[in-house]
């Protein structure tokens, strides 16, 4: 092939991808950092206010509460989803119909829209008609009945079961396929050396799938920072910001309070925070794997 035509092909072929991706993913990220320097209601003139939005964020208790809630989500995902999924993957290792059925069932929420998942759990938690409170009544634990989503002290924790429920299947399948990729000879050799049961898991299986665990942790972190839909549907970030996440706070600041500049500044913080968290997790987990 001649060099000229292939150069044209390269430019022409990459152009649409670069254009769409650049315009709708990359430019907005840069722009939100820029809009963050303005006081703007979304209509009319923008007023340049320098770093005022960013310094306001630093002193904004709701922002810190959102970040704390996001971190609760990250921790619930990393220390809830990952171990549960890992345990399930180890237990559901075989391909009997029962194990296949359970794997498929646990994965099912992954193909459903978060809107429906959020609404179903809203019903489960409903103080009057919710089955959770009915269940507590039925087993004689009426005293434990709560306003699961409208009690500001517990609302954020009420969101954790639906979070785990909807994503654990993803990690289960990731870990299952990683475990299946371990060559059988390694297990045979380990068995000869007396490494069976939990010892085999700790010394053979887990180290061999450690890269996958690292990937799962990154997915957990970025996934938790992306959880907007579930919280928006179930609580709108309320009551009184008790379940506010960075994304819902950004949404509420922008589209409920009409503070576009402030919302943009929060958007920029979300990008920065997610890069920092992912970087830190990579550093921590790779240190751990080196020491093993």
């Amino acid at each position: 092939m001649n060099a000229m035509s292939s150069r044209k092909f390269i430019m022409f072929g990459l152009a649409p991808a670069l254009l769409i991706y650049g315009l709708f993913v990359f430019v907005p990220v840069v722009w939100s950092a820029y809009y963050g320097f303005f006081n703007w209601s979304g209509f009319g003139d923008k007023q340049y206010i320098g770093l005022a939005n960013y310094t306001e964020i630093i002193h904004d208790s709701t922002f810190w509460r959102s970040l704390k809630n996001n971190i609760i989500f990250v921790l619930a995902a990393v220390f809830g989803q990952v171990p549960i999924a890992l345990a399930l993957a180890v237990i559901l290792h075989k391909n009997t119909w029962m194990q296949r059925f359970l794997r498929s069932a646990i994965f099912l929420p992954m193909v459903m829209s978060t809107v429906v998942i959020g609404m179903v759990w809203q019903y489960i938690y409903h103080p009057q008609i919710g089955i959770l409170n009915f269940l507590l009544d039925a087993v004689g634990l009426s005293a434990w009945k709560l306003n699961w989503l409208s009690d500001s002290g517990i609302a954020i924790y009420s969101l954790i079961p639906p979070l785990i429920w909807s994503f654990v299947g993803l990690y289960l399948i990731i870990f299952s396929s990683a475990l299946q990729n371990i060559p059988g000879e390694i297990h045979d050799a380990a068995e000869l050396d007396g490494a069976i049961g939990w010892r085999r898991l700790a010394y053979i299986s887990l180290p061999m799938i450690w890269t996958t665990v690292q990937v799962a942790i990154v997915l957990c972190i970025s996934g938790s920072l992306k959880s907007f839909d579930l919280v928006y549907i179930m609580t709108r970030g309320g009551p009184a910001h008790a379940t506010e996440l960075l994304a819902t706070y950004m949404y509420n600041s922008t589209f409920t309070s009409y503070r576009y500049g402030y919302g943009s500044a929060i958007s920029t913080m979300i990008v920065l925070i997610s890069l920092v968290l992912i970087g830190t997790s990579q550093w921590l987990t790779s240190r751990k794997s080196r020491s093993q």
Binding site: L14, L108, S113, I173, F228
Partner: protein
């Protein structure tokens, strides 16, 4: 495996599993069964089966929630962004994996970074951009961002797959006199079918289930997608439980049926790229 579970404790394991299985499936069971109930039935027997299997909820929900429009809109934006993602993504991956040029590594890194950008951080600037170029309340307001956010994963998955093809493919096709486009359409695309189907599942489900972009970019009733319509509908018909639940069941039925048919493929496809051996 028998070593792992031990021979004495399988009952405990299976009990835990059954409890977990029930925990997983009960919300689905409850959703589907309750959708058949009347309001009184719903209040008085929250756990039980419906006193009467009330089919009318479904037809009423279909009409009241205008689900036909919502389905059509969801199909248009999902298939639109899917076609764009597959074509544009495959073309870019073909170039990134089979050609040598300056800045290649930089272009690849540029795309892959996109997988780490939280979607919602772009909502505000994208809303402003869409407003300025008058795309708010059009199908393009969803098709273009869905495509843009699907591209990083698509390029990641497809390039990895294309990388494994032997060099001789190009040589053989040039000797046969096929041009670059011919090579792409007649050889590369058909050979990448497994990777393309992974990308299809990922991008389709993402577009079909997305809520946040639709929430911000679409306010016109006639353009609302399924998740958005369902969310709005439940706000309006909060106390008609059977009706709302029936609308929810109808809206998730297509993806659940597709999942039951293509299970293995869906599960593998969704997790592609996460397992590195």
């Amino acid at each position: 495996m028998s070593g792992l579970l031990g021979r004495s404790k399988p009952i405990i394991f299976w009990t835990i599993l059954m409890v977990y299985g029930i925990f997983t499936l009960y919300p689905f069971f409850w959703l589907i069964v309750s959708a058949f109930k009347t309001n009184e039935d719903f209040y008085s027997h929250p756990f039980g089966l419906p006193a009467q299997w009330n089919m009318a909820n479904f037809s009423r929900a279909w009409e009241t929630a205008k689900l036909d429009t919502a389905f059509a809109n969801s199909l248009i934006v999902s298939i639109g962004s899917l076609v764009l993602t597959l074509f544009i993504g495959a073309l870019a991956s073909f170039i990134l994996s089979r050609f040598q040029f300056r800045l290649k590594a930089a272009v690849f890194a540029f795309f892959v970074v996109g997988m780490l950008i939280p979607i919602h951080s772009t909502l505000v600037p994208l809303f402003i951009l869409m407003k300025q170029i008058s795309l708010l309340n059009t199908y393009w307001a969803l098709i273009l961002p869905y495509t843009a956010f699907a591209l990083p994963t698509a390029i990641f998955v497809l390039s990895a797959y294309l990388m494994s093809f032997p060099r001789e493919i190009e040589e053989a096709s040039f000797i046969d006199g096929t041009g670059l486009w011919g090579l792409f359409f007649r050889i590369i695309l058909p050979m990448s079918l497994p990777a393309l189907s992974t990308v299809t599942i990922l991008s389709f489900l993402h577009a079909w289930n997305d809520f946040s972009f639709a929430l911000v970019f679409i306010s016109k009733t006639s353009l609302k997608t399924l998740p958005l319509s369902i969310a709005n509908f439940s706000d309006g018909y909060q106390t008609d439980y059977g009706l709302t639940l029936a609308a929810m069941v109808l809206s998730v039925l297509p993806t659940i049926i597709l999942y039951l048919v293509f299970q293995e493929q869906v599960m593998k496809g969704m997790t592609a790229g996460a397992v590195k051996g």
